[in-house]
Amino acid sequence: MAVTALKGIDVEIDSGTFVSFIGPSGSGKTTLLNLIGCLDKPTSGEVRINNVAISQLDRKNAAKFRGDNLGFIFQNFNLLPVLTAYENVEYPLIMVQDVPKNERKERILSLLEKTGMLDQKDKYPNQLSGGQKQRVAVARALVTNPKMVLADEPTANLDHETAYRIMEVMRNMKDEFGTTFIFSTHDSKLMDVMEVVHTIEDGLIVDNDSGKQRGGKS
């Protein structure tokens, strides 16, 4: 039986903002992120990023669009276990964008330094803490210079202090690279760092809370 996850969502996201969709479990946050992330297609309606109708893209072009324009951060970090921290960050540059070796090294080391993981670069994911894994995941999401980073419950598996630090790292990245960050979370404590917050309930956006009121400050 088909279940309607989102109903009549109509939302515009400005580039270079820190946006969050909040709501209880099952409200449709992840589905919305999957639609924006070109991972899923709406049964009706359209998703456009920079005037590209991403919901119309075929499998191959959708993969290319994701590789060129989007970065992903997952609740469970989703690092590749056979690769070191350095290699995990390097992965999209080799397997997705074919970036030359010298340029790769420069970009990876720079991001690992900014995320505070430079001294852990040779460790495998199972040798890292949850917070460290997520920092590597942030570096991996940003290494391709994406226009937008989608983070699905990025702090759900982290303690509050670590979660706060990770958010700070992402906030710094946003400020430095002008990347749009879109979060889904039900962690209300993280609302302080958001510029725009949309509340979703039962597949509908029920409240738009402009970042202006929040001042976008952490």
Partner: protein, 415 residues
Amino acid sequence: MTKIFKIAFRNLFRYKRRTFLTTSLIAIGVILVIAFGGIAGAFKNQIVGILTNSVLADIQIHQKGYLSSMDNMPLDMTMSGGGLAKIEKLLEESDQVKAFSKRLRFAAMVSNFSQTTNARLTAVYPEMESQTCPDLPKRVKGPEADPAKFVKPGEIILPANLAKGLELTIGSDVVLVAHNKDGSVNGITLRVGGISENIMGPTGKDGYLHMDDAQSLLRIDNGEITEIAIKLKNFDKLDTAYEQLKLELMKIKGKSDKPMYEISTWEELSPFTSIARIIDLLIIVVRVILISIVLISILNVMMMSVYERVREIGTMASIGTPPRRILSLFLAEGFSLGLMSSIIGSLLGTGILFIFRVIKLNFTFGRMDISLSPSVPLSEVLVAILIVVAISVISSLQPALKASKLEPVDALRHV
């Protein structure tokens, strides 16, 4: 590409026990193929070597139609005169032929003056025969040490069983009685100059005598012979030499403008050919077993690998890895597993053959003392590796395609 193989290798060693078991299974298959192929091949080659060096030679030439009535040893299908001279010239000028021996084969009765039995006799020029079948003189027990004189005029070499049955020893006199082609019966008294071990077992009735005695017995005065046995310089070029000689031989035509002679390789003359074919068939069967082992084990491992890593595949796909790269990643894994296993198996297989080669495998087959020194050509090792790698990639294809076609959103949800 390097990175893909690096990831593939790390994924293989991530599941060490499973990879170890699969590698071992495939390696055992490769060892089986190489060791069995090497030993069976060495056995076959040795038997063929004994047969060709002791009795048959590599190639034989007969008068047309002789082969089909060979068991009757007819004396009215002989080679002589101009035709024979042409063949001799052809063989002397051929760069493929090392030596050849003219033979006259006939049936005769052998008597010790109180008992008589039948025998198949081959009259030879010992110098030519010892060069064409160099192992024949070695199988003759007698006082003569010079292989080129292993049978002298006035002497006969009798097979061991026949000599034993007639209570003959070296130096005994025997009477040989035979029909010639005109039907007249003639006899000659000869001295037993040697006792030969028959390579094909106790039923052997093959004796040897000097060509001069046979011509005297059969009243032959024009140099008639029934066959020419040929030893090649390089046995490996048997087929080429056969074709070349056949081509030239077919040019020698009789009065009816048809070829006068027929040419046969040892394969057409020996019942061992069937055994050799069975050995070749068994080698193929062992290879098919290896292919099955590789196919099933790699398919199993790769399917499990894909199933266990669905979320990982989802992550790779979601961050934009093109499906063809995901496909290559899993194909590289299957390729690496196959290559690694086949190299290990090849090294162990050739190592085992080397040990057998050093210690020698000695046994008796029929009346042949076999001492195997098995070896395997590099090409066969490479073929085994190639088969394993190719089958590994083929069996990885289905799981790899499945992985590359996974929808990232479904894969990420997979628990």
